[in-house]
Symmetry: C2
Subunit: 394 residues, 2 copies
């Protein structure tokens, strides 16, 4: 009488973590300097000084029991207010404290939205490539995730494919831009087209279709590029944000929902989010980090290291003959498998202690993902291995 | 198409938080010194020095990005190992690192176990009084929670009632001892009786019945009392532990599962826990606090303040004529409503800015819960209000 579907998910493992663990074992044998680990998407730069300054000030000024006590389930008023004010300042939207719910990061947000919108029979859709766990979230509430392809070469939204993929039970479209794993930022033009399509289909189906934006990489964008603000293009959008990447705090589990009144049936959605969080055992997001986030809400990450890695890898790999998708944001780069088979190429790379993740798990076979949130010296040491590998495929 | 059950849970509110918020508003009007808040069960003493010493040492010795990076989903190896070693040292059980899964506290554990054991048609049981959210956890996976009464006066397990309450689809018994809200510690004798009953019923039903121990209050016990270690009495027990109360870190969300091999079908249970955590969006427990817990795992809380409050309240309230259940552990005390109606009495108390929680929500009508994790000076200031209230009921 144990849920076997859960046991199967527990067994299925996580390909990213498995390759990373292989790397850790190899490092013991060949030495850490001879392992080139491009697997985990975790910031390689320190959190900004504001994080530590705030922690120190809190320690000095707030009684210790109070600094670490329960926060309200929806978050401390101060951080909700500061997050709303930041969005208002940045995007000209009239948000208020009560539109924000603090969570343990975007994973919590996505699981909650899946439960809220799909438990009663709805279905989710997303564009490939995408973060693999979206699918499990949908399946765990008895629903499914429809994978819609993007345009080959550009990885931008394919509106014709989207029109074919939408069905009368589609309740939510998950958008992740800047995208993991492609590094692509969805353009304003395709987002406007997508919004028009969703408005048409919502009217046709007689129920709203929600966009759920998974945007932990919002501030990670290169070459002065624009990350269009989706709620300004499509009212019926719920934002899922995390400070994991912008403040380099992925282990501290801190992010938020934004559900403003322009979201369809917003009062019901908001209450269902709170109900879902309760039955998911969400007591509160970590209290001290909420107070830290309140002070550091608008701090931009220093992208110097990620920029250098991106440039170094893109230039070297294209010069060796790899086809690379030049990242516009986030800290990943997709490369096409020189032999056409991403799983096989990942295995070949492992033999050279070069650890890169097959795209198959992201709905993107034939490609591999490189995390560029790594040490530049490691990037430089890894280049001969990349060069040797493509030569083996010729 | 929004899940209306979730919206209803979101709307239903939390009586404890509502009364506490009323108190915060009243404090603005009458002054904080004239509000006597016995609602929230959150440590009122500072975390032990070890917590801050460890944070300082980590800051000085671990690169900042690494200190705040993702931990493995099951927890950092060090904290898992230390938690297992502590249990082994304390209870003579041969636990290993791989028997421990780090979580964001016992709420996460209970939600996960509910999903693992009840999703496939099982049912849960617990003894009254109990923490109110257990019921929502069961209902959110389409199951139910059977409330079994305890023995009047002692609040110990009622084995006859338990035999009547068990059904062929009972898969889990949730035990919480020291108990919230009664402060009672279930005796070794009744636990042994319960274990025998469950062994008999497991054989009769042809499937295991799991005990799930919710034990954040394990170390909070008075007068040198014993908290029997349930897995030593009934093999098929999963422990859900939290450092929230012992280290005064309830806002930091850090605890663990213990699932040793003697648990029935342990490999499946363990994998199903991991699968459930994945689909619930549990990426990891907060990384820095995992490292803190690893160093502070065996530190006992200083119970001086809770002891003083318990003694002061028990002696004063019984002298006024209240019937009180003398707490053996945790930091709560139940009092019987002098007018027989706990909701009404709570409202009467609010008029005197005395904030106590009706027992109805804990499956314990006719009683009220006082949190004794408060400031002793406030306890003393509150006594005239308690005295006046019972006189009004005479």
């Amino acid at each position: 009488m144990i849920d076997q579907k859960l046991a199967a998910w527990g067994r299925s493992g996580n390909i990213i973590r498995e390759i990373a663990e292989y790397g850790a074992e190899q490092a013991k044998i060949v030495g850490a300097d001879h392992v080139y680990n491009f697997t985990i998407g975790s910031p390689s730069i320190d959190p900004p000084a504001c994080v530590f300054e705030t922690m120190d000030r809190l320690r000095a000024t707030v009684p210790a029991w109070e600094l670490h006590t329960y926060a309200p389930a929806a978050g401390l008023p101060d951080v909700r207010e500061k997050a709303a004010a930041y969005l208002t300042r940045s995007f000209g939207v009239p948000y208020r404290k009560q539109d924000i719910i603090i969570t343990c990061g975007t994973s919590t947000c996505l699981v909650v939205m899946t439960k809220v919108l799909l438990s009663a029979g709805g279905r989710a859709m997303t564009f490939t490539p995408y973060f693999m766990d979206y699918k499990y979230y949908a399946e765990s509430v008895g629903s499914t995730l429809t994978e819609c392809p993007t345009v080959p070469d550009t990885f931008q939204l394919d509106l014709d494919a989207a029109e074919r993929a939408l069905t009368p039970d589609t309740m939510m479209l998950i958008l992740n831009s800047p995208n993991n794993p492609s590094g692509v930022v969805y353009s304003r033009e395709t987002l406007e087209g997508m919004a028009a399509l969703l408005r048409k289909k919502s009217a046709e189906y007689g129920h709203p279709i929600y966009i759920v934006c998974d945007e932990p990489y919002r501030e990670l964008v290169y070459d002065g590029g624009e990350v269009p603000y989706v709620p300004a293009i499509y009212n019926n959008t719920v934002i899922c944000y995390s400070w994991s990447k912008s403040l380099s705090l992925p282990g501290e589990r801190i992010g938020y929902f934004c559900v403003p009144p322009c979201v369809d049936d917003s009062e019901n959605v908001y209450k269902a989010i709170q109900g879902a969080m309760r039955v998911l055992g969400h007591v509160c997001a970590p209290t001290m980090m909420q107070k830290v986030a309140a002070k550091c809400v608008g701090i931009k990450p220093d992208l110097t290291v990620y920029e250098q890695n991106r440039k170094t890898l893109y230039e070297a790999l294209t010069s060796y003959g790899y086809r690379c998708i030049k990242p516009q944001g986030a800290f990943y780069m997709l490369i096409q498998s020189p032999n056409g088979d991403d799983n096989e190429f990942s295995e070949m790379a492992k033999l050279k202690n070069l650890l890169i993740v097959p795209g198959t798990g992201f709905g993107c076979p034939g490609f591999l993902r490189l995390s560029t949130c790594v040490d530049l010296a490691m990037v430089q040491r890894s280049l001969p291995a990349f060069k040797a590998l493509i030569e083996e495929c010729k």
